[in-house]
Amino acid sequence: MQAITREQLINKAVALLADGTVKYVLGWKKGEFDYDITPAVFETAEELNADFVWNDFCGANFSKYLVAKTRKLDGKILVFLKPCDTYSFNQLLTEHRFDRDKVYAVGIPCNGMADIAKVKEVCGDGISSIATEGDALAVTTIYDDEPVKVAVESVLAERCLNCKSKKHVAYDELMGEDGDTLDSNRFDEVAKLEAMTPDERFAFWQNELSRCIRCNACRDVCPACTCEKCVFDNPTSGVENKAPANSFEEKMFHIIRAFHVAGRCTDCGECSRVCPQNIPLHLLNRKFIKDINEFYGEYQAGAEVGSRAPLVNYTTEDLEPGEVFDRRDTNA
C-alpha cells in the first residue's frame, strides 16, 4: 500500500488548481482494469475526482512529459513525482529540456510499484479486479471464485526491488515523509554478467535481444532520449529505426542507445518497464553506471541540477584508456 492516499493527492491538486498556483495537473488516469493506467492532463476538480488514480500500478515517470507539455500548455503544470522520478526531472533540467518556471513539482513517497506481469505469473491471466488490502493485492480472476492474495513485495517491479532512493532530489513541495538514498543491490545482476565469459555474455544478450521487435518504446519513453531528431529517425544515418536489416543491427540499436544515454541515464527503469518483450534493457545502462562509478568515482545522474557528468568532465586524474583495458581484462 502506498503511504499517501488518492484522496490526499486529489485534494492537493484541487487546492493548487483553486488558488491559481497551477492550471494543469499531470497525473495517472484510470483505465478499463485496475492496473492499466494512462498518464493524463487534468484541468478540473471534476476530472480529478472522476478519473485520477493512485495505486500500486502508477509506475509511469512523468518527467519526460514535461518537455512536450511545458511547450504546449499555456500555464503552470502540477506534476507528482515519486523519488526516482525526481532524478529524471533534475537530469532534464541539467540538459535544459524544459522550463522549470512552468512546473510545480510535488514530491510524493513511493513504496514501490507492482509489475502486472509478475501478478499474472502468480494469478494467471483473466484478472477482473485488483483491490489493495494493506500490503497485499486481492486479485480476482474470472477463473477463480475467491480472490488470490498477493503480497505487493513479491510482485514489485525489478527497479523497485532494487530501489536506489526513497529520497526526493527535486520538488517545490513535499507530501509525506522524505526517505533516504538506499544501498541497493542493483549492480548484482551486472556483476553476474561481468563474471560471464565473453561467449556466455554474448549468448545472454543474443537471447534477450532476439526478442526485440524494434518498436522503439524504450527510446520513446526514456527521459534521457529527448533529442529533437533521433539518430534512429534519420534516414541517412545508416541505423534508421524500424526493422533490423540483419541481426547485428538489432543489437546495434540497443548498444548505440546505451552509449547515447551513458552518464545521463538515472536508472529510472522505464525502458524495461515498457518493453513488450521483457528485455532487461536497464542492465545495459546499469553496466555503464557501474563502470562510471568504478572508473571515475560514484556518480548518480540527476542527483543535482547542473552537475557535470564524468564523461563530459575531463580531469587529469581520469583513468587512461589503457587502464580501462587492463581492468577489463582482469574482469572478463
Partner: protein, 343 residues
C-alpha cells in the same frame, strides 16, 4: 474427428515435422511465448497467447524483395525470390486465424496480389487451437469471433488429457492423414463440452460487452473530428508497440540496405504511429501524434471496413491492450469515441 493423448503429442509433432517445418508457441526465457520451429525437446507452451502474432509467417517483419548490383552507370536487378517450402503453424488462436483473413483481403484478394505473401500463404498449413484460457485483455467476441470454434486448415481442442483434431480443408485433411497412425476416431462429446466451457468463460470477460456500435463503414465524417482524439492521444509515446504486436496491422516500408557487395531492397513493418510515416520533403499531412493515433483506429474501425464489406480489421486479440506502454488502446477508443459514453 480424431483424437490423441497429450502424452503422445511429441510423437505427433515429430511426425508432422517429418513432412514439413513445424512452428508452435514455446516458452521464452522471460516466461512469454513465441512461435518457434519445433525440434525434439521443444514443448508446446501452456501460454496460448504469443507476444508477436503469427502474422509474421506470411508477412514477416523484414523480408528481402529484390537485390541490385551497380557498376558505373549500370544497374543489374537480381530477383531473389524463392519458393517457400511447405510449413505448418500449430496453435493459432481463433482471433489470429481471423487476422489472416484481414491480411488476405489486402495482399491476396486485391490486385495486384502480393507475390511474397501469396507464396507463403500457399505453402502454409494452419492448425488452430480453441482458446480455453482467454485473458482479461481479450475481446474477440466483439468482432464475431468464437474462440471455441477456431478456423484454419485444422482445428484442435485441448482437454485435460487429450487433443481433438478436426480437418476443415483438404490441406488439413491431408495432414491429418499423415498422423492417422497416432490418432484415433472419436465422437464430439468432449469437444462439445469444451466449447460450452469456453462460451461460459467468454461471458465473464471484463470486455465481454464491448461492441462495435458507432463504428464501421461510413462513419468518417461523424468520428474524424471528435475532440476526444486529442484527449486520448495526449500521452501516446508514438512508439510502434501496438502496431508491431498487432496481427492485422499491414503497413510496411520499403528500404535499401547496402551490404557492401550490393544493395538489397527489403520491406519491413512500418507504423502509422511513427512521425516519419507520412513525412515528405514537401510537408507533413499528419502534424501531431493526435493525427497519427487517430489514423490507426480510424483505419481499423472505419476505413478498412469501408473497403472490405464491413469487416473490421481488429480481431480483439488483446495484444495492444496488454502491451501499450501507456495503457491506451483500441478498447478504450471504441468505448469513448464511438460508444455510449460519448452520448
Amino acid at each position: 474427428m480424431r483424437k490423441c493423448s497429450l502424452d503422445s503429442l511429441n510423437a505427433v509433432f515429430a511426425k508432422i515435422a517429418e513432412a514439413a517445418e513445424l512452428y508452435l508457441p514455446v516458452n521464452c526465457t522471460d516466461g512469454s511465448a513465441a512461435f518457434s520451429k519445433w525440434e525434439e525437446g521443444k514443448e508446446w507452451s501452456n501460454n496460448l497467447n504469443t507476444v508477436k502474432s503469427p502474422k509474421e509467417f506470411f508477412f514477416p517483419q523484414t523480408e528481402d524483395l529484390v537485390a541490385f548490383k551497380t557498376s558505373g552507370k549500370n544497374i543489374e536487378i537480381i530477383d531473389t525470390r524463392k519458393e517457400r517450402e511447405d510449413f505448418v503453424v500449430f496453435g493459432v488462436r481463433a482471433c489470429d486465424v481471423k487476422a489472416f483473413e484481414v491480411l488476405d483481403n489486402v495482399f491476396l484478394l486485391k490486385e495486384p496480389y502480393d507475390s511474397y505473401y501469396t507464396n507463403r500463404r500457399e505453402h502454409g498449413v494452419i492448425i488452430s487451437v480453441a482458446c480455453n484460457r482467454p485473458a482479461d485483455t481479450c475481446f474477440c467476441k466483439t468482432f464475431g469471433i468464437d474462440p471455441a470454434d477456431p478456423q484454419g486448415d485444422i482445428s484442435v481442442w485441448k482437454t485435460a488429457d487429450s487433443l481433438y483434431w478436426q480437418a476443415n480443408t483438404e490441406r488439413g485433411a491431408a495432414l491429418l492423414e499423415k498422423i492417422a497412425d497416432l490418432t484415433e476416431d472419436c465422437d464430439t462429446a468432449a469437444v462439445d463440452a469444451e466449447k460450452e466451457k469456453i462460451t461460459k468463460i467468454m461471458s465473464k470477460l471484463p470486455l465481454a460487452n464491448l461492441t462495435t456500435e458507432g463504428w464501421g463503414a461510413g462513419k468518417t465524417q461523424e468520428l474524424f473530428d471528435s475532440p476526444i482524439w486529442a484527449e486520448m492521444s495526449e500521452a501516446c509515446l508514438g512508439c510502434g508497440t501496438c502496431t508491431f504486436v498487432c496481427p492485422t496491422c499491414q503497413c510496411y516500408d520499403i528500404k535499401d540496405f547496402n551490404t557492401g557487395k550490393g544493395v538489397v531492397r527489403f520491406r519491413c513493418w512500418d507504423s502509422c504511429m511513427y512521425s516519419d510515416f507520412t513525412k515528405m520533403s514537401a510537408g507533413q499531412p499528419r502534424l501531431s501524434q493526435k493525427e497519427r493515433f487517430r489514423q490507426r483506429f480510424m483505419h481499423k474501425l472505419v476505413y478498412y471496413p469501408e473497403n472490405n464489406n464491413g469487416l473490421f480489421s481488429c480481431v480483439g486479440c488483446g495484444r495492444c491492450v496488454a502491451k501499450c506502454p501507456i495503457s491506451m488502446n483500441i478498447a478504450k477508443v471504441m468505448k469513448k469515441i464511438g460508444g455510449k459514453e460519448n452520448e
